[in-house]
């Protein structure tokens, strides 16, 4: 139980933090307009040269190990929906860390998603 709670924390909080670092890195290198393999490879290479990307990779690696730990004992149909709590963390991070303009409508959507997550957790049994 405690082991799964620790894994859950890493998946939700550390994983979401890592995704926000990816977003910051990709915003720094600019938009992709050409979808040829060479252009995509160049874009990925530029992203990997950003320190934010390596912070992201480290955080997301810890989150991934934790996800594996959860999946060893818990149903996939519970694990994935229940980790959607990260939407709340993501919206907060989008507003305060990435300086995105999270509109009231987007907040409403995130709140509805969180209600859905609650139902998934209650419906575990």
């Amino acid at each position: 139980m405690i082991t799964n709670a620790i894994f859950y924390f890493f998946v939700v909080v550390v994983g979401t933090g890592g995704e926000m670092c990816v977003s910051r890195a990709t915003k720094l290198i600019g938009e992709v307009h050409d979808f040829s393999p060479r252009s995509i490879a160049r874009h990925v290479g530029r992203a990997l040269a950003q320190p934010w990307m390596w912070i992201a990779v480290t955080m997301m690696a810890f989150a991934f190990f934790s996800l594996l730990g959860m999946l060893a004992t818990t149903k996939a149909s519970f694990v994935y929906p229940s980790t959607a709590v990260s939407y709340g963390v993501g919206a907060l991070g989008g507003k305060f860390f990435l300086k995105e303009d999270v509109t009231p409508q987007r907040w409403l959507g995130v709140a509805v998603i969180c209600v859905g997550v609650l139902l998934v957790i209650i419906g575990k049994g």
Binding site: L68, S77, I113, L119
Partner: protein, 140 residues
Amino acid sequence: MTSQTGRRLETFIVILIMVAVTALGDIFLRKGMARIGAMPSWAPADVFHFFFRAFTSPLVWLGIASQLAFFVAYLLVLSWADYSFVQPVSNSISYPFIVLSAEFILHESVSLLRWAGVAVICLGVFVVGRTQVKTTGEPV
């Protein structure tokens, strides 16, 4: 495609590809990890043995390959779209896919209440999906 509609369509197409790839990867990961079982304790030797078994499982590697493909698509879409738009939409559309896959491929029992939760999540996605793709910098 530079108009708001074109960029929105492009964004949703990439997100759909991401959803299909990640759902497949999730099923591989669950199958692989279920064979390994619970980590016995937090003792360093047990932790090492647990993750050693995980990373020598072909099913786990198939799952990782799927996640890497998802990550490349994610990098692309985040270069033009807001994180607070992409994250809820991409992750939430994938829930019905994952839960359906878990029920029919992994034969997990899914309660009606959990399905109701997934439906509510999809409603939230619909609400988020109707907001602007990008809210910072130059308009697209």
